[in-house]
Amino acid sequence: MKSALSETDLAAYIDGELSVEQAVCLEALLAGDPEARSRLDAMTGQKQMLRAALLTLPADEGAPRTLELEHRLASRLRQREQVSRGDWMVGDWLRRAAAAVLLVAAGWGGHMTYADLSHPLPEYVAEAAGAHLVFADNPLRPADVDPTQPLQMATWLSSRLGKAITVPSLEPLNITFVSARLLGTKEGPLAQVVYEDQNRHRMTLSIAPHGYQGNTAILHAERDGINLAYWSDPELSYVLAARTTATQIEAIAAEIMTAGEDAAE
């Protein structure tokens, strides 16, 4: 009797291409078709045997030039990932970015070490007081300062923070400046710069003066799906936040840090 099961069915079963329902159906047919069952077993065994044989091919080591090419490709792929789209925060990014800033603010100012950032205290009363100090006697933003103009914002934010800040350009990474704003935290004013990539996924850079020695390397934290990279120079602390990968956020942070160092020289 000709088997109802084609070679294509059997191959698809072996290669895991069938849905659960299809696989169950095929197994039911196999139960009544010992000839097809034995063909299936032979082919399954051959696939496994072939895989085992291929894995014994000595392929771990290549020529030095291959390794060099591998490193070059790795570096290009990293750059590609940095500017990649698709996994930055969307939708409720504002709420999450605000949470991230609060988390950061709780550890801001040198009273706490960076390590404490992973266990912030929700000091909303202190935050309210800080916001009052920043905004009560000042406008949220002077009417003549355009939040979408990075240079104007840098000048105004510098005056409010009491330290000169720059709004780094991330155009080389295909990340564009959207706007900047001033936030009031319990530790004082904090500048927040909003960027977006080509898919309009947002990233924020928060900058605030600090009261400790500074000059820390880039550290990484993850909270509620937001990846944070934070570091400091002698006068300012920085926090970069986005819904992206640890690798990307650190790579972008490194770019900003390097740009800052170049500008300082």
């Binding site: 294509t8 051959q46 696939k47 045997m49 014994t56 291959t66 990293r78 990932e81 789209r85 990846n227």
Partner: protein
């Protein structure tokens, strides 16, 4: 959760590429050349890689295209060579006789079927990805893998039955 960078998996994929290249070229030096050419093209075409997609599929596809182009250039220089790929023989000397028979049978298959079968054995790819790697429609790929598997199975059955007859013949 943060997605790990694809770069972390790159080396592992290159090892797989080298294995695939050994089977495609049947020669260790040609295989290394093919890997290098593949990486060179990948570097030049890095913008065509979509982060979040399967890096391995992208790399294998570049290798498959590169191999096809190289073959065209050489006008199937070694097409007449019917022996097993040397590196495969070397590496599998110690393996069970049945494995060597299987590799010999694999070597008798048309290139298109052999590549499909090796790709699936190496990669555990989905059919649609494997079809993409080889640049053929899904249906074509499915037909190649099914026919190739069946041909291998028949070849191995033939070998077994011969062996069985010899044993039986001593009675």
């Amino acid at each position: 959760m943060a997605r790990p960078s694809v770069v972390e998996t790159l080396h592992e994929h290159i090892v797989s590429l080298r294995r695939f290249a050994l089977v495609l070229t049947r020669n260790r030096d040609d295989a290394e050349d093919l890997v290098q050419e593949t990486l060179t093209r990948a570097i030049a075409a890095v913008d065509s890689f979509q982060p979040g997609t399967d890096l391995r599929v992208w790399l294998f596809r570049i290798m498959s295209n590169t191999h096809v182009n190289t073959l065209r250039k050489r006008q199937v220089r070694d097409a007449a060579r019917a022996s097993l790929p040397d590196p495969v023989v070397e590496a599998t000397q110690s393996l069970h006789v049945e494995v060597r028979q299987l590799l010999a049978a694999l070597d008798e298959l048309p290139d298109a079927q052999r590549e499909a079968i090796v790709l699936m054995a190496l990669g555990d790819l989905k059919y649609k990805d494997a079809a993409q790697v080889l640049g053929v429609p899904l249906g074509t790929f499915m037909s190649r893998i099914a026919r190739g598997r069946e041909a291998l199975r028949c070849a191995m059955e033939g070998i077994k039955s011969i062996r069985f007859r010899i044993v039986g013949g001593s009675l």
